[in-house]
Assembly symmetry: C2
Homo-oligomer: 136 residues x 2
């Protein structure tokens, strides 16, 4: 899914950026599994909507971040949902490789079981082979 | 799902509260639809895990908030997933009634279609009959 800049700007008018940010929940478009949760500023939303590739705002690194820029594990946008308050979006994507910088398909690879956190996924790639110095 | 306070405190040790908050993504446990996205402070996480009922931290009202306290549209916790960074959780819940204060089952009732935001859900309840003065 790719929008024109004008269309993307119209969509952002429905958004309420809090401290400049909205929450992005990124799901596997096929399984509906949540892959990751991250922040987006206005620029990240516009880049994502106009290129069809997930971009986030890295709060810690204070910069725009194309998911896959290092790992080549891109996220290709299929559908975009907006919540009532306009401060959260759900993106359904085709995930290349895995979303998690620790080597899992999803960042949500742990679940509470009998009062403890247990891993529910196996690693699907070796992060040391995919990431050099930074995430992405 | 209900944990003892000690178990819940152990789980919160895996969390990284940023400015005191983590992101909660709440899903329908049956359909995996995302119902809402909200913030939780440590108290909201502990209350949710020990009571099995979703509690959030209202940033605007600066108070703990039991989902359903006004509407009776409670969210009963079935499963809890934690992400790699410990700053986001996915809760699978049984949703009583609807999650959205505007009368929809999910807050994500709008989707980008041909460059525009379109409603994808019909209202499932009348908010004016369910909410008196405040959300919840």
């Amino acid at each position: 899914m790719r929008l024109s800049l004008k269309e993307a700007q119209e969509i952002t008018k429905a958004l309420k950026f809090r401290d400049g940010l909205v929450v992005a929940v990124t799901r596997d478009s096929r399984t509906k599994d949540v892959l990751m949760v991250a922040s987006m500023n206005r620029q990240a939303v516009l880049k994502t909507l106009t290129t069809g590739m997930m971009h986030y705002w890295s709060v810690s690194r204070r910069r725009l971040w194309l998911k896959g820029e290092v790992s080549r594990h891109y996220q290709i946008v299929q559908d975009v949902h907006v919540d009532c308050d306009g401060d959260a979006l759900v993106f359904d994507v085709k995930q290349v490789g895995g979303a998690c910088h620790e080597g899992y398909r999803s960042c949500f690879y742990r679940k509470v079981k009998r009062g403890e956190l247990k891993e529910t996924l196996k690693k699907s790639f070796k992060p040391e082979e995919v990431y050099r110095s930074s995430r992405g």
